[in-house]
């Protein structure tokens, strides 16, 4: 079982880094063997972590094909660099950070290069969430399932999606996100707020959501 419960698991809120790196049986041995060039160990590490890496890519990119390409890149990068893993952080944390960095690099290459991400992640006025000064009270509480939320997240503008996934799903702090996205912490907070407002708009009208990356 890849995501087995550990003694450290808890339902209370804590940073994602603690929630996403439970010890995995056989992982330590596989890392040592992979560092020695054992191909079977590569396969074992892929099997242990493919779902986590692919799901992260899919959530950040909102696109199956790009997510598969980035999963491939992440593992190729991992296998080429595994000799440099010294165990100073949990392997899954190391791989998670490596994947996030590769996806961000990919996004910059796609169209964000040479321009500050802070300027380009802001969506257009049409995409921006509406301010709410008097809409009818239509509560979301209890009405949103995982698939619907996943569809809505996939439809967020890229900048909103990145900050929402990194903060609310993956548990990064605003200062970490600001460093990763090369923006201010204020911008990260503002983008997160707009992402949640936009999700609220979409989740109030779930029948309008596409199939998105939930498939």
């Amino acid at each position: 079982m890849l995501q087995g419960q550990t003694m450290n698991d808890t339902t209370t809120k804590q940073p994602g880094v603690f929630r996403r790196n439970p010890p995995i049986a056989g992982e330590a041995e596989a890392i040592l063997a992979a560092q020695a060039g054992d191909e079977t160990a590569f396969s074992k590490l892929y099997t242990l972590h493919k779902r986590r890496v692919y799901t992260l890519c899919l959530r950040m990119l909102g696109n199956v094909s790009e997510a598969e390409d980035m999963t491939q890149e992440a593992f190729l990068h991992l296998f080429r660099k595994i000799g440099s893993f010294r165990g100073e952080s949990a392997f899954s944390t190391w791989l998670h950070r490596l994947t996030v960095n590769l996806v961000l690099m990919h996004l910059r290459k796609k169209g964000l290069q040479l321009v500050s991400l802070e300027e380009t992640i802001n969506p257009s006025d049409e995409e921006a969430p509406k301010r709410d000064f008097g809409s009818k009270d239509q509560r979301l509480t209890g009405s949103v399932d995982r698939v619907t939320l996943e569809r809505a997240v996939a439809e967020l503008p890229p900048g909103y999606r990145l900050v929402f996934v990194l903060h609310d799903v993956e548990g990064y702090e605003h200062n970490e996100i600001a460093t990763m996205l090369e923006c201010s912490t204020g911008n990260s907070k503002s983008q997160l707020h707009k992402a949640r407002l936009k999700l609220r708009d979409m989740l109030r009208n779930p029948e309008a959501l596409g199939e998105g990356a939930a498939q």
């Binding site: 809120k13 598969e68 008097g134 009270d137 509480t141 939320l149 503002s190 609220r200």
Partner: protein, 90 residues
């Protein structure tokens, strides 16, 4: 200075309250400690509904931490073939 639905003890307008929301959410517990914010929330159904929904969305986001998607088998085939190529001497 106040919205029509605010009483005299609740001096924040909805616009002012919502302006502060990104910071409020980033500093957990701020609403509880700030009488102005608490006062506005107690009397404004619109803003209290908004806050409740945004808190709910943030809570539900944790459902997405669990990885639920597998890449297609092609991904591993491609990785294997690239690793094999890398090993071949030029």
């Amino acid at each position: 200075m106040t919205d029509s639905n605010n009483n005299k003890d609740n001096v924040l307008t909805c616009a002012e309250f919502q302006e502060q929301l990104p910071q409020i959410f980033a500093a957990e517990g701020e609403i509880g400690h700030n009488p102005e914010l608490r006062g506005h929330l107690a009397t404004c159904t619109n803003c209290s509904s908004l806050v409740r929904d945004l808190e709910y969305i943030a809570e539900q986001a944790r459902m997405l931490l669990e990885p639920t998607h597998d890449p297609s088998p092609d991904v591993w085939s491609n990785i294997q073939s690239k690793l094999t190529k890398d090993e071949k001497p030029n």
